[in-house]
Symmetry: C2
Subunit: 194 residues, 2 copies
């Protein structure tokens, strides 16, 4: 069975978007600084890390808010390499098939069910939990996250949406299973103990 | 002239102490998890990183709160390898000479003056700004920090004192000049642009 991997870029000061994230400003002010490594500014090593996620993943899960702000800029075909994207939402909604093979599937029956459906669709590959912060936190609290792939970008945004918030309980020692350093990001693979 | 280097360990979720940090509980609940790499649990590589700070630094600056909670557990001689430690405080106070060569010098004339005195004492070596979070934030806001050496520890504390808070203004792209990975920490050297 594949793992559930929370795969997300964060600033050194812990933000996954800048302030004022909304439709039309999906990454928040200056949030694009978190993703430069994905594009031209990144190295081949960064690009390999990015591409690898689509080889190891068989399905993607995102939160409804990330879907709402991302739908238009992602375009058609969306940048999910044909993988199905499960959107956790409160409202039932028909699937949206896109070019390139990706279908947006809306799951209104809770995060456990969304993850279960994604696992089923992934056929033994990993489920990529791509954000945003709220769905990560909900999945983490529910014990649904097996691994984190955190791309720590050496930038200080000062404000925005924090990845690590609203978590509680005993401290958790993660097991760093792999790390890749480039000038643009520190890519950390961290296993969540059971 | 030496650099001012903010040298501090943070959890992956951004905390430099656990909750309830105070005299008698200087690192906050479970805050010792942030410093295991310094001690037996760390590797030789971790220990080299830790030792290097005392070779490149000629003086240390800490906040008053860190001094208050640290004074007793640090003991005599304190773990500063004989370097003078400048404590930024609001109350004038006589210096406290310790065994091993370290003297605690209290500076009540502001952070700029504390950094200036530490630079003078450092004789061309770096000034190590060892924490806590409040003095780092004050120095960073005042443009006094040249470099950060951040030891990112793969642990989630969930609560405590955040390093990156109360900063504002335009985003800052740091230049990663060096990185050392061990299972226990990601040691990142980051230059702050002028």
């Amino acid at each position: 069975m594949g793992k559930v991997v929370c795969d997300i870029a964060v600033s050194l000061d812990g933000f996954v978007t800048g302030p004022d994230d909304r439709v039309g400003n999906p990454l928040g002010d200056n949030g694009e600084l978190l993703h430069e490594w994905v594009f031209d500014a990144g190295t081949d090593v960064d690009h390999d890390v990015f591409a690898e996620r689509f080889k190891t993943s068989g399905a993607v899960v995102v939160g409804r808010r990330m879907f709402d702000v991302g739908f238009e800029p992602w375009g058609d075909p969306p940048p999910y390499e044909g993988l199905p994207v499960f959107v956790v939402t409160h409202e039932a909604r028909d699937p949206i098939p896109m070019q390139g093979g990706t279908t947006y599937v809306f799951v209104s029956t809770g995060i456990e069910d969304a993850i279960a459906q994604a696992k089923e669709a992934a056929g033994g590959k990993d489920v990529g939990l791509f954000g945003g912060a709220a769905i990560f936190q909900a999945c983490f609290r529910a014990g649904l996250v097996d691994q984190m792939l955190i791309h720590v970008v050496p930038v200080l945004l000062h404000r925005g949406v924090r990845l690590f918030e609203r978590l509680d309980g005993a401290p958790i020692k993660l097991e760093k299973t792999r790390a890749v350093e480039t000038p643009h990001a520190t890519h950390l693979w961290l296993a969540v103990p059971r």
